[in-house]
Symmetry: C2
Subunit: 763 residues, 2 copies
């Protein structure tokens, strides 16, 4: 659950200092004990006071030209620059015990991003001085004043980066308004097309919501310049009234929000006069609490609201937290969220059951899944029930593990009242011991025969009607189910059934500074090119379902490829094995619409499988609830990018992904390109237009270069004027994207994991 | 000088094979000897023939569905995929000696970028097979067929990258048409503004020249996906007729162009019937020969032109080479180009005369500069001539080295007929020995007094009138001239003169795959953040002098900052030294217009200095010829980027650069952001517009966030509707850039060299 802090302004401290009952206490110590009594975990107090502001202003701002003792002041300023230090009466705290449970606010009048080089330079020296002092007093975190001048946000960020380098341990939290109210209209966040001729926005007219990304923009620039330093965090300022639409606020869920600045002025009074938040703020708080931020309440003692007094504010936020869907799900037994507690955003190397023999404890964890095996039993039951030919049906469980599917198969057989026999194949010698035990004690020779060996090589006494396997990974094929079933299909009858009968891989582009830092943390460059299994938590899916300005974009989550079993008319060896693995290579090129500016850190990978008929398994976010609600066995795949890719609002992201194979292994390679739609008048050629438009039909008929280049008439005479050349263009080369729209390429990633250099998939 | 190769088509080889005078020769061996006789260095021959094409097509293209023995063919295809190999009669060469002086052409019918996954997969296997065979025969380089399908260029590139990994040593050269004639109009390359309402381009109408960047675009995507592999090069195909405007072709000068494909059909006949090239092609050849490409002439035996025969083509190109400005300059003694032979694009760590004591040989190299010392003598002469007060003038040479400036000072004194005395200060004990020798043998006590020590600490007997120094680096201040002269100014009279009196640093954005690979080659990450001194050669300056669509862009080469000497009314210690080095910090934020798409690899750094009055020194490309022609002492600075930054046509590049200092060192930090102008209707807020517009005046008055956030009325009620908020916007917030234009941020680099981590400048 989140912590709560109480903000004490300078006036509050002054007021406390004037109280005659202070005794041994300093004003700040008294503030801290008062706050604790009021149920807060900490206080948030300005580090310096007016005296320091006055001195710094005299030294660094007031123009010496106008002062008589100009040179004297400049001398003092230089003396300060060479040895920056406070006088005792310029700071609000000076003892270790004062700094406990206290979050210092750095002087908010420091002009860290003024356009005046010299003032900015001195502000940076002062910032270093204040942070060094806070660090001396063992403060764990300091809150920095917000950037205010976008043209100098780079200088602001560079100064902070220098502080992160010179001040050890301490966390620096940049205070940023959640958005810029001056630029927002309430309502849904869908952006108007850049190419619809919208009325030019003006200071007097309303403006669409994308523009409230500008404060996130500044944050993104700052943290990028600071190299995603893990000690750089956010103090998100909720002073501005929140719009009802949340989608423009979602990007904050993917950022290191450590503090929420929530002033009493952001609350309204309900019918009874108690402080409550607006709908927009309520839903945002409910979302953001999953990051467990420290909530800094400000102005709660000012009696802004007639009822409830100081405690009412924190009580209300606690109430919101209790009604947060994320928090509730995490507290409900049987949900993935609950099952995954402690695993959020934690990178796991995917299992490699083919290469490694799993431990019994691993089998046990997965056997706990109430949904997966229920669905398998259903699928087997329907397959048996609908099996056309009368008489005995033979089943084979390929990869029986400790036997859960065998047990379910027997249940299904019983329910279906069919006569049937089950072969159970397993290559893990240790699990095979467990199988033998269950075979003797539960199943018996009449119903089950155990076979020890690799399903790709071992011989089965007879061909079977139904082949049952559970070889799926988070991305469907990523644990080599296709390759294994190629082997197992040897002992499936031509008209036999495979359960699963097919599976599909899906991806969606995501942003997550947490996951980006996690992948970098290992210091191993390969870790930036390795897919992981992750319970995604502090992330934001960047795509939406809009077709995009160009009209060529797919849905928010898109299909990469699928596999079907059994394979139809394949060329095989006498042993019934494929001669090569070529048929299991795949490639996908997908285009996503990115409605709001964001940073791409990688892709979420999901799978959906058809077990039999209408019975399936899915971790596709939009469909898992219908197909396999509360299934626990698979977290999504996280496919990382080595370097973040910045995506402007309304850009279009094209992702190329390959499943590749050689004799030793199977692996994925991927890269991405970003495009921005602009009016065709800005771009200069029909070819440019339709060739840069991903998946444009005209591209299908391939090269137009070759004919042009190879036709001698084009080049036989330099006098040939080029307008004739353009006439040679086949007409279908124009307008492949929506009329009037062109896509300009703006950036590209590297090719990731070439040659499977960091491949975790071995044959 | 470039090499020349002769292209033999398959027909040519067949024809040769039918000759009865072959004797021991194979057709290819005969072709090679014929070519050598005709004055060529090598031949360029297809590696495979029609037999191979037929087999591959049958196995991989023809649809088995239609063939009776469908499965048989699929079996054979699988057999080939599992062990790809040639039959002897499918290839044109088979012996080592045949492959000597031969450049194999990979089968150009391989559909490496078809949209059909399966055909593409088989084409890649065939490509691997052909390259492996060429490598077996020790071919040094193979030429790959051009990409033809932009939608699959990623797959084409991934396949090449896989080959680079699996085939050792061999260079793979991608054949790319220099541009796409179908998309070009002749004439100047200035692009129309994306926001002028140009008539929408269509297949029938003409189209502006940016679009001929598309073949470069493809190349850029390919080499980016191949990670700038140094074994990936370009075979630039000059088949298309070249436009007169060259600016759109300049980007090729920054790429690894190893071959020029030049068919006889690209030549026209001159009055006498001899083959010559068009104006556009002539000037491009003259430029590109500086990269010393191998020129592959094709079709020269087809008698396309009535006069001159086969030799005429090569002769003509050799003639162009002789008249190439770059080549001529390199051959003219006394030019920088000649002086720098062998140093082109070679990275040198800048000198650090303050930290290191230079070697005598280093002094000697620089003393050879005929121009630098002449200009110093001129400056001193004019300074003395115009010196107001009569009587003796005292000079001080701060950093006398081996004495060249002392000698020039004495010459200037003689010419000026002034009575004068020279103090010579030097801290290098070794150079000081040379000084003593010259003092005894040439100068004598009457004219010169030597002083041994650091100019920042040593005492000089009297204050001097004129302070002379040569402490400048390629970037002006980068060898710490400002810091040194701060020290030396102690012994300059208040109204004294400093020679130089000022100097300015300039930068321009550049593209150079060579320099990018050079900086990466060291494998030391710091090398990617260290400025180097480089004789820039295979580069392209990406900016132009256009103000840009937004109207906020500066010129092609822009000023960062300057330094003036002596400093006016500075605060100093009793010893006359500054208390801190704060006054020598600088920062610059510059915006460049990028007319054509390109990749930013770093920045060229230049300096210009005023020695005295109208006498100066400059390596600013536009002004060096007037100010200090043929000066040899300084190559430009190269300020690298860690990762290339892609810039679309008509984008705007904002560069932030800082000169920073602490007690130990001085260093630079830098980063860049790219923006794309779009019509305002596409972007969603007046604030967005003017705050993202670099250097927009409105930004000067700083924050609009603070007022908005702090004004209680904004937040006191959630019922406040936001249109009112927008009304609060000060009117000057609209239209800061040119009417109707907005800038959308599209990408950003990291902050480079933070904290001077790879600083090469020590105090």
């Amino acid at each position: 659950m989140p912590a709560f802090s109480s903000h004490y302004a300078l006036e509050d401290i002054v007021e406390l200092s004037q109280r005659d009952d202070l005794g041994e206490d300093t004003p700040v110590l008294r503030a801290t004990s008062d706050a604790r009594t009021a149920g807060y975990d900490a206080v948030c107090v300005p580090l310096t006071n007016e005296k320091w502001k006055a001195r710094w202003t005299e030294l660094c701002i007031l123009d010496p030209e106008e002062s008589p003792d100009k040179l004297v002041i400049e001398q003092r300023a230089e003396a300060w620059r060479s040895k920056p230090a406070f006088f005792r009466d310029e700071v609000t705290i000076s003892r270790l015990e004062e700094a406990e449970n206290l979050i210092p606010l750095i002087s908010d009048w420091l002009e860290l991003d003024t356009s005046d080089d010299w003032v900015r330079h001195d502000a940076e020296i002062a910032l270093q001085q204040e942070l060094a002092f806070a660090s001396y007093l063992n403060a764990q975190c300091a809150i920095l004043p917000p950037p205010s001048n976008r043209t100098q946000v780079g200088s602001y960020a560079r100064a902070i980066n220098a502080c992160l380098a010179s001040i050890p341990y301490m966390e620096l939290s940049v205070r940023i308004p959640i958005y810029d109210p001056a630029t927002v209209l309430p309502g849904p966040s869908r952006s108007p097309s850049p190419v619809e001729s919208a009325p030019p926005s003006s200071a007097t007219g309303g403006t669409p919501p994308e523009s409230n990304m500008t404060t996130w923009e500044m944050w993104d620039t700052i943290r990028t310049i600071c190299g995603y330093n893990p000690r750089l965090t956010l103090a998100l300022d909720l002073t501005p009234p929140l719009p009802l639409s949340s989608s423009v606020l979602d990007q904050w869920l993917a950022e290191p929000v450590r503090h929420i600045w929530l002033p009493a002025s952001a609350f309204i009074a309900n019918a009874k006069g108690y402080p409550v938040l607006t709908k927009g703020s309520q839903s945002f708080i409910r979302d953001i609490v999953k990051l467990q931020p420290n909530i800094i309440l400000s102005g709660t003692r000012a009696k802004k609201h007639t009822r409830g007094g100081e405690p009412a504010y924190a009580q209300y936020v606690r109430h919101l937290e209790k009604t947060s869907p994320a928090v509730k799900a995490a507290q409900t037994a049987g949900t993935v969220e609950n099952f995954a507690l402690g695993y959020q955003d934690y990178l796991q190397a995917p299992l490699q059951p083919l290469m490694d023999n799993l431990q019994s404890i691993t089998y046990q964890t997965f056997e706990q899944d109430p949904v997966k095996y229920r669905n398998y039993e259903e699928a087997i039951f329907f397959a048996l029930s609908e099996w056309p030919t009368p008489g005995k049906v033979t089943l084979c469980v390929a990869g029986a593990g400790r036997g859960p599917l065998v047990a379910r198969a027997l249940k299904a057989i019983e329910r279906s009242k069919r006569e049937a026999f089950v072969y159970a194949v397993e290559k893990n010698p240790n699990a095979y011991v467990t199988l033998q035990e269950r075979h003797r004690e539960e199943w018996g020779d009449a119903k089950v025969k155990l076979l020890f060996g690799d399903m790709r090589t071992l011989e089965v006494p007879e061909k079977v009607d139904i082949l049952i396997s559970e070889l799926l990974g988070s991305f469907g094929d990523n644990e080599l189910s296709p390759e294994c079933l190629d082997g197992a299909s040897r002992f499936l009858k031509p008209d036999g059934i495979s359960i699963p009968s097919s599976y599909t891989a899906y991806i969606a582009p995501l942003s997550s500074s947490k996951l980006y830092n996690e992948t970098r943390a290992t210091k191993d460059p390969k870790s930036l090119e390795t897919p992981y299994v992750v319970m995604l938590h502090a992330i934001n899916i960047l795509s939406d379902n809009g077709g995009g300005i160009s009209g060529t974009c797919g849905p928010q989550i898109q299909e990469c490829w699928d596999f079907e079993h059994p394979r139809k008319d394949a060329a095989l060896t006498e042993q019934g094995l494929p001669l090569t693995n070529s048929h299991n290579t795949r490639s996908a090129k997908l285009t996503f619409h990115i409605p709001n500016a964001g940073v791409l850190h990688g892709f979420a990978g999901y799978f959906e499988a058809v077990l039999y008929g209408h019975v399936g398994l899915s971790i596709h976010p939009d469909r898992m609830a219908q197909i396999s609600k509360d299934m626990l066995s698979w977290f999504p795949l996280f496919i990382p990018l080595k370097d973040p890719l910045y995506l402007p609002a309304d850009s279009e992201l094209t992702v190329s992904l390959w499943r590749l194979t050689d004799v030793r292994k199977v692996w994925y390679e991927w890269y991405a390109e970003a495009f921005l739609p602009v009016p065709s008048s800005s771009v200069h050629s029909p070819i440019w237009r339709d060739t840069l438009s991903p998946m444009s039909p005209s591209a299908e008929h391939g090269s137009f270069l070759s004919p042009v280049v190879s036709t001698p008439t084009f080049v036989s005479s330099p006098l040939l004027d080029v307008p004739q050349l353009t006439l040679e263009l086949p007409p279908q080369h124009s307008d492949k994207t929506r009329e009037g729209v062109s896509l300009v390429k703006i950036s590209q990633t590297a090719l990731h994991n070439p040659g499977g250099q960091s491949s975790w998939i071995g044959l």
